[in-house]
Symmetry: C2
Subunit: 346 residues, 2 copies
DNA sequence: CTGAAAGCGCTTACAG
DNA sequence: CTGAAAGCGCTTACAG
């Protein structure tokens, strides 16, 4: 019974029509009579026929799939994925599914020679780039992508004049808002955990927003209150806080550039005998699922990953269709929980 | 300059050989002189040539990609993915990459008519099924997959006589071990949070292991200490614990069938004014990243997701190669942290 | 509305 | 070791 696999010729034969007609009937072409279409569809279903994607793609010269390239910090543990990117992955997968696109997922190291490979081999019609990493290093690769006419979108800081298009949240605004919140709680010595250099434009923007809020409140920015943290992990956050503590500067709040860093920082504070939020308020950025289950629950800046996934896919599809697409910044929202001392339920 | 896209004919022309030779040279066929191969490779590189996957796949009749189908509880929030499956996803992606396979990722609802679609359309050579859900419902679909000669592996309980092959952790052994740990700490009234029915064979197996350990210690199983929890989320765990508490039965420990449930249970215990581990020991299952950052850090049963991903992919590839593949159970390991009262560092 | 035919870009017997 | 040729299973002008 189970012969190899039905082709459009098999169903054409059974339906008593030509193979072209089968193809048209199944692809929803209007050039087919309703009667023929129904007959063809019935037989196709009975034979469990599925259009061969490889043949179809080859002929149409596109693949109806998008590739998601996840860049991870090479230093991070092999099994770890940043929970924030994971939820982006979920949202992107869904956005693709809604549009009938398949999603190829691949982990990349920033050092790899990944540019254009997917599109040139017709595995995917376009690329979605996700992940932290040294922006200055990545930039030249992005440039190459543009030169090769590769369709791509990138999640990250929206920086002036960068190659290709990016979608990211408004880091400056989000950071400003959370620092204002800390300020409104009476905090004055607010430490910032996260790199503040052009290598990490997202963290840098958060630092800028933070400083803006301070200055607007008439508070001078103290460089001693900024601690570098390249990687976004609990371990790094923990260590950063110990570095800060070792400096001997006074601080009554910590704004960490990511939730993972913030959770690590809370951990260190506990070890150091400081209570959160009694002695020190702590705020993060991202609103990963873990944030609400940290102890105390973490006040943070929420990035709308659901919306982000939608827009990333939409912008990429625009490019694929040959339309003009532009970078876009999404608003971020402060989520108040217990870790800063306020009590409005999260 | 930027003409459309180089084909093997373009590079054949430049190299002064036939297109067949180009194909052979690039695919590593031994039927090509070293000299020719080098010349072809150089030109291919210069032209940024990539073999067209669609053409290649069509011809070879396979796609060198695997599809990962993620099933989620339809009740769960749209943006949520169980962190345990997320880490499986990471491990599977890497296992595929190591073998040169691409990975198509797709979310499915259990209600969807997903069987065989990917393989029949030649999008993928085989399927990896991941996710909880009603096993009894899924079973008939698995049966269909088998009938359609679809290659697939499934992560989950390894149950006797099930259709297809499965890879899962030894839930009975893991549960037995963690209950023994609780017992060794002097706990006697240990509640179990999680469904105990054939609909959820993984949770059921954990319940069985739990009961085995109790009986071995001469303790009768009290049905009042088991609380249903179908979904694996913090919310459900929280609610389950309140249900348990409302029953008015005494308990000095909680073994939750997943970390998410356990974290939710700890949350509820806190609200109820019970201290962990002072009044109640709490243990989970999975060892998701969040477990070590819960407060107190969660004692749990670790599933080796890295190994699991490897084996899942390997078993699937065996089937694709036409070799016999069999189900397999991986050992689970107790990770002791603070939530049960013991102090051996985790 | 339908059919015959070309062709998408490869891989792989087949013949040398 | 190399080339000419067939063919993978579709889609889509082209002609009716």
């Amino acid at each position: 019974m189970k012969t190899s696999k039905a082709t459009s010729f098999d169903i054409a034969y059974q339906a008593g029509v030509s193979q072209s007609t089968v193809s048209r009937a199944l692809s929803g072409s209007p050039l087919v009579s309703l009667d023929t279409r129904r007959r063809v569809q019935a037989i196709a279903k009975e034979l469990n026929y599925k259009v061969d994607k490889n043949a179809s793609n080859l002929r149409r010269q596109h693949s109806v799939t998008l590739a998601l390239l996840l860049f991870e910090d090479p230093t991070s543990d092999d099994s770890l994925i940043n929970p924030f990117f994971l939820s982006m992955l979920g949202s992107i997968t869904r956005a693709c599914a809604r549009r009938g696109y398949d999603l190829l997922v691949s982990f990349q190291q920033f050092s790899d020679d990944w540019h254009a490979d997917y599109q040139d081999s017709h595995k995917a019609d376009g690329l979605i780039l996700l992940g932290y990493g040294d922006y200055l290093v990545a930039r030249s690769k992005l440039q190459k992508l543009v030169e090769h006419d590769t369709h791509f979108v990138r999640w990250g800081a929206v920086v002036e004049g960068q190659p290709g298009i990016s979608v990211g949240c408004d880091n400056v605004q989000g950071a400003r808002a959370i620092t204002e919140h800390l300020l409104s709680l009476g905090r004055r010595r607010i430490a910032f955990v996260g790199n503040a250099s052009a290598h990490c434009p997202e963290f840098f923007d958060r630092y800028i927003g933070h400083c803006e809020a301070l200055r607007a409140a008439g508070i001078a920015v103290d460089p001693l209150l900024q601690v570098d943290a390249v990687d976004s992990t609990e371990q790094v956050g923990d260590r950063a806080l110990r570095t800060l503590h070792a400096r001997g500067v006074a601080f009554d709040a910590v704004f960490a550039a990511s939730d993972l860093l913030a959770i690590g920082a809370m951990h260190a504070l506990g070890d150091l005998g400081l209570s959160v939020p009694g002695d020190v308020s702590v705020a993060g950025f991202d609103d990963i699922p873990m944030a609400s289950f940290a102890s105390p629950a973490l006040t943070t800046v929420q990035q709308d990953t659901k919306r982000a996934g939608e827009i990333l896919v939409e912008r990429l599809l625009q490019q694929i269709r040959g339309e003009a697409a532009r970078s876009e910044m999404l608003p971020a929202q402060v989520i108040v929980r217990r870790s800063c001392g306020a009590n409005r339920a999260g």
